[in-house]
Amino acid sequence: MTERLKEDQPIFQQIAEMIETTIVEGELQASDKIPSTNEFAKHYQINPATAAKGINLLVNQEIIYKKRGVGMFVSEKARDIVIKKRKEQFYDQYVQPMLKEATRIELSEEQLTKWIKEVYNRGN
């Protein structure tokens, strides 16, 4: 979670997404403790309320849960929830922009599918 913050996207959203990515990648696992609001604030030099807003976004989706006075933890089904959500967003966020650029530069369907197959055949 040391990615730099971008200018053109709300910071609280970026905080939430960074935590999600760490969960998907398995660096943070179920019942692991996540850094506190103040730790996020200090790390990124942001207002603690902004960090709290990002974390609350995940609490509302039951990806993170709070234990009063102890801290915040990754929920049991966190990874499933994030993956399901990201799969739903995948077409809009990645496929559509890619196809838009592909048509713009007149890339053939054949070439495109060839690349996709290559990646999947490599076992990735």
Partner: protein, 289 residues
């Protein structure tokens, strides 16, 4: 602490510095006070600290006036760009005097900060460099632990590394002792992420007072094909526009905007918004003349 101003006006002879300003600030938060030169920021902060009286209207902190009212003003620490400390005193003197003046002074913390900024206790204020003078102000401001702590451009002459240290210290200090911290600055890009709320003054009046989140939600930066962008932006409040190579970018403000299909949607930074909003005033002004 609760700050409330009602029709607050301050004139210096004929010059109007604050003009019928009414707004309210409360709770523990870090607030950015922004405005172009001459917008009235310093006047507002000095009225808050009780440095002088207003010409008209009210300046109330917890329903009391801070002017000539030590029992209230001892809770307020204002650190300015300059003229905070008398030339002939040493660093040690300043810290000692401050410890008497501010009831929540943290002596150990002040010493720790003095080490961080490498200030020698016996050095006289007169002989401090600009950066070290600013550092002394920052030390007093943070160690005062004042329920209302105000920094007016506190880092003139401080290099980028020490400014970053200041932001770290500010967040740490706020974490330990949440309070109302007001930070006035021209280096908006550097500090905007520290703010929870922003107050922007323009020619002595309030241009806007918003939470940073609301400000982010109340505007949109659109780019794409010129005709499509223009069609979408027509009859909306456009605060900035540029076009290039058949592409157009506009910034719309104060709209409930639904995402327009086919156009690229993004956000402007606080500094960009500040420039667009205050610049627009200038344009309008020029047209009126």
């Amino acid at each position: 602490m609760e700050i409330r101003t009602n029709h607050l006006t301050k004139k210096y002879r004929k010059e109007v510095a604050l003009d019928d300003l009414s707004f309210q600030l409360s709770g523990d938060k870090i607030v950015g006070l922004l405005g172009k030169n001459g917008a009235g920021k310093t006047t507002l902060m000095r009225l808050l600290a009780g440095h002088f009286a207003q010409t008209n209207g009210e300046m109330l902190i917890n329903q009391e006036s801070p002017f000539n009212n030590y029992s209230l003003s001892k809770n307020i620490c204002l650190i300015m760009e300059s003229n905070n400390f008398h030339d002939k005193f040493t660093v040690k003197d300043i810290l000692k005097i401050s410890s008497k003046f501010y009831p929540y002074w943290d002596k150990e913390y002040a010493e720790e900060l003095r080490e961080v900024f490498r200030l020698k206790p016996k050095k006289k204020v007169k002989t401090l460099s600009k950066g070290m003078y600013s550092a002394l102000g920052i030390i007093v401001g943070l160690a005062s632990n004042s329920p209302i702590t105000i920094f007016d451009e506190p880092y003139i002459g401080l290099d980028a590394a020490f400014r970053s240290t200041f932001y770290d210290l500010l967040l740490e200090s706020y974490e330990r002792n949440p309070r109302l911290i007001i930070l006035s600055t021209h280096l908006i890009d550097e500090v905007s992420k520290l703010f929870e709320e922003v107050v922007i003054l323009q020619e002595g009046t309030l241009l806007l007072h918003e939470s940073v989140d609301d400000l982010a939600n109340k505007h949109i930066l659109l780019s794409g094909n010129k005709e499509e962008v223009e069609q979408f932006a027509s009859n909306k409040n456009v605060i900035h526009e540029t076009s290039m190579l058949g592409q157009k970018t506009v910034v719309l403000y104060d709209e409930t905007i639904t995402d327009p299909a086919g156009l690229k949607v993004s956000r402007a930074s606080l500094q960009e918004l500040f420039v667009y909003l205050t610049k627009e005033e200038v344009k309008r002004h020029a047209r009126a003349n």
